[in-house]
């Protein structure tokens, strides 16, 4: 893994961004984590490339949120390594963090503030000047099709709209990697479907690598990559067709059931 990456100027913003090079947007190698002496994650290894949409599929308790907490450095890891955009998370966390956007399982918007104020806060946490923050907020709000909502208080938005704002916030600093931890929790079926489709479009149009954690089979699209996590281990990793053919069954649902039913620790 190298530290240096090629970069270009952005014509309208004048700021330097890094081109997606050969390094994956996310690399995880031999990652392990224990809590209270019990292993929660064991020897996880996978790569995620620019423009790739990977569904981290696992039942409750599989270790998905723990994995996200390690990648975002909310927890410290002692076993294994993580690189984000080619930057070692444990040694260059500033560079690595600047390249990732996160949508947490719990809604994390400030309900009493407006959409614009929430986005401005996030922009400041990434060191953006106010003018740049306003420009990017307008752009990202357009992309999540929430035009006209910038002055609205988050409290007055629906669950689906709040999630869209969180996605816009996660993309505000133009990350290479977007992590979404069960982002459809609490949404109705139509909103869930719209959100999944929307993030697929963002992934395709903007080339962002997406790691989408869920336990819901119907959130897997045919062209997605699927990483099945169960009891802290990766049970399968590949395209939908590959996972189905490896695990057996007629569908990804059946394959998932087989992979997560009796796998011993």
């Amino acid at each position: 893994m190298t530290q240096a990456r090629p970069s270009i100027g952005v014509p309208d913003g004048g700021e330097q961004i890094e081109l997606p090079g050969n390094e994956p947007a996310l690399s995880v190698r031999d990652l392990g984590f224990s809590y209270a002496g019990q292993p929660v994650l064991e020897s996880l290894s996978f790569d995620l490339r620019a423009g790739e949409f990977a569904v981290l599929l696992g039942p409750n308790g599989a270790g998905k949120t723990t994995l996200f907490s390690l990648i975002t450095r909310l927890y410290a890891y002692r076993q294994g390594r993580i690189w984000v955009g080619g930057h070692d998370l444990s040694r260059h966390s500033v560079l690595a963090h600047a390249r990732m956007g996160v949508v947490f399982q719990q809604p994390t918007l400030d309900l009493d503030l407006t959409v614009r104020q929430n986005l401005a806060y996030h922009a400041a946490l990434h060191g953006m000047a106010p003018a740049e923050a306003r420009r990017r907020a307008a752009l990202q709000i357009d992309r999540v099709e929430m035009q006209g909502s910038l002055r609205q208080r988050v409290r007055h938005l629906s669950g689906g709209q709040r999630r869209r704002v969180e996605i816009a916030r996660g993309l505000l600093h133009e990350p290479q990697l977007l992590l979404l931890d069960e982002p459809t929790v609490g949404l109705d079926i139509a909103s869930r479907r719209a959100l999944v489709d929307h993030v697929h479009r963002l992934c395709r149009d903007q080339g962002v690598a997406v790691l989408w954690a869920t336990h819901l089979i119907d959130e897997v699209h045919h062209g997605d990559r699927v990483i099945v996590l169960h009891r802290g281990r990766i049970r399968a990793d590949g395209s939908v067709a590959e996972v189905v053919s490896r695990a057996g069954g007629d569908s990804i649902g059946e394959a998932f059931d087989r992979l997560t039913q009796e796998a011993p620790r």
Partner: protein, 269 residues
């Protein structure tokens, strides 16, 4: 990461705290009512019984209301510091603390920003209180209102860092009230906020010794001396050192390598 980016980050955290404060008007009113009740009711009632003999930094005998005002300023900051830490526990439970902690800036810097933002909010409250006290007749030299500002910053950071440290040990929001009772009230009452140390010593030597060791006593004296254009080196030194030590411990407590989040049990799966 350039210095300007650090500045933008600090501005953002401070703006958010101020916006939240503006939206929580009841918090502002509650923060003012508490010291005003002490000033208008308690101090007025005890005026005759508790007149304060000539004691530094005052150059003459002072009414009890005059003596108590710096202590009430400390009270505002103490309660605000605990209120900020309560909001940190709330933020952590609600998840918004994560938004702060996944920022690319060093965690120590982010926590210091949060602390400064809380301090600024408490200073706004203090000046509103001092303005009301001024109209009521408790008037310090005008220069004192400017000179007290650095003392307010140090006190705000000190009690804010204490609250931040405590918040790292609190597992649930419900448990915070107990911690407040065990910290705020002893800190406030076992200090020179309400009575001079020499008067406490007349009543109980043990309480005097505890009050003399209480860092909040030094913060109150630092504020009192600054308001009357005096410099209290010992009070400033102890307050500054306490603020630095508490801030260091708070940053350590929120260090992922130390596993603060892991100690909380994380959540999710």
């Amino acid at each position: 990461m350039s210095l300007a980016r650090y500045g933008h980050c600090l501005r953002g955290v401070v703006s958010r705290e101020l916006l939240r404060f503006v939206h929580q008007r009841s918090r502002f009113v509650a923060a003012l009512v508490r010291p005003l009740v002490w000033l208008f009711v308690f101090a007025a009632g005890f005026r005759m019984a508790l007149g304060v003999a000539m004691t530094e930094p005052y150059q003459t005998y002072v009414l009890y209301e005059v003596y108590i005002v710096p202590g009430l300023v400390g009270m505002i900051q103490l309660f605000n510091g605990m209120q900020s830490s309560l909001s940190m526990v709330y933020d952590r439970e609600m998840g918004s603390m994560r938004v702060l902690l996944v920022s690319p800036f060093p965690r120590g810097f982010l926590l210091a920003c949060k602390l400064l933002a809380g301090t600024l909010v408490s200073i706004v409250q203090v000046y509103v209180f001092l303005a009301i006290a001024y109209l009521y007749g408790v008037q310090a030299p005008l220069a004192g209102y400017v000179l007290v500002l650095p003392a307010l910053v140090v006190t705000g950071v000190m009690v804010g860092a204490l609250g931040m440290l405590l918040s790292s040990f609190v597992r649930q929001l419900e448990n915070f009230a107990g911690i407040m009772n065990f910290v705020i009230f002893p800190m406030f009452f076992l200090s020179s906020a309400l009575y001079p140390l020499w008067r406490i010593r007349e009543g109980s030597h043990l309480v005097y010794q505890i009050a003399a060791l209480n860092p909040f006593t030094y913060a109150v004296e630092m504020i009192r001396f600054a308001m009357y254009e005096r410099f209290h080196a010992a009070a400033i030194s102890v307050s500054l050192m306490t603020a630095v030590v508490l801030l260091g411990l708070a940053i350590l407590a929120y260090n992922p390598a130390r596993g603060m989040m892991a100690r909380k049990g994380g959540g999710g799966d």
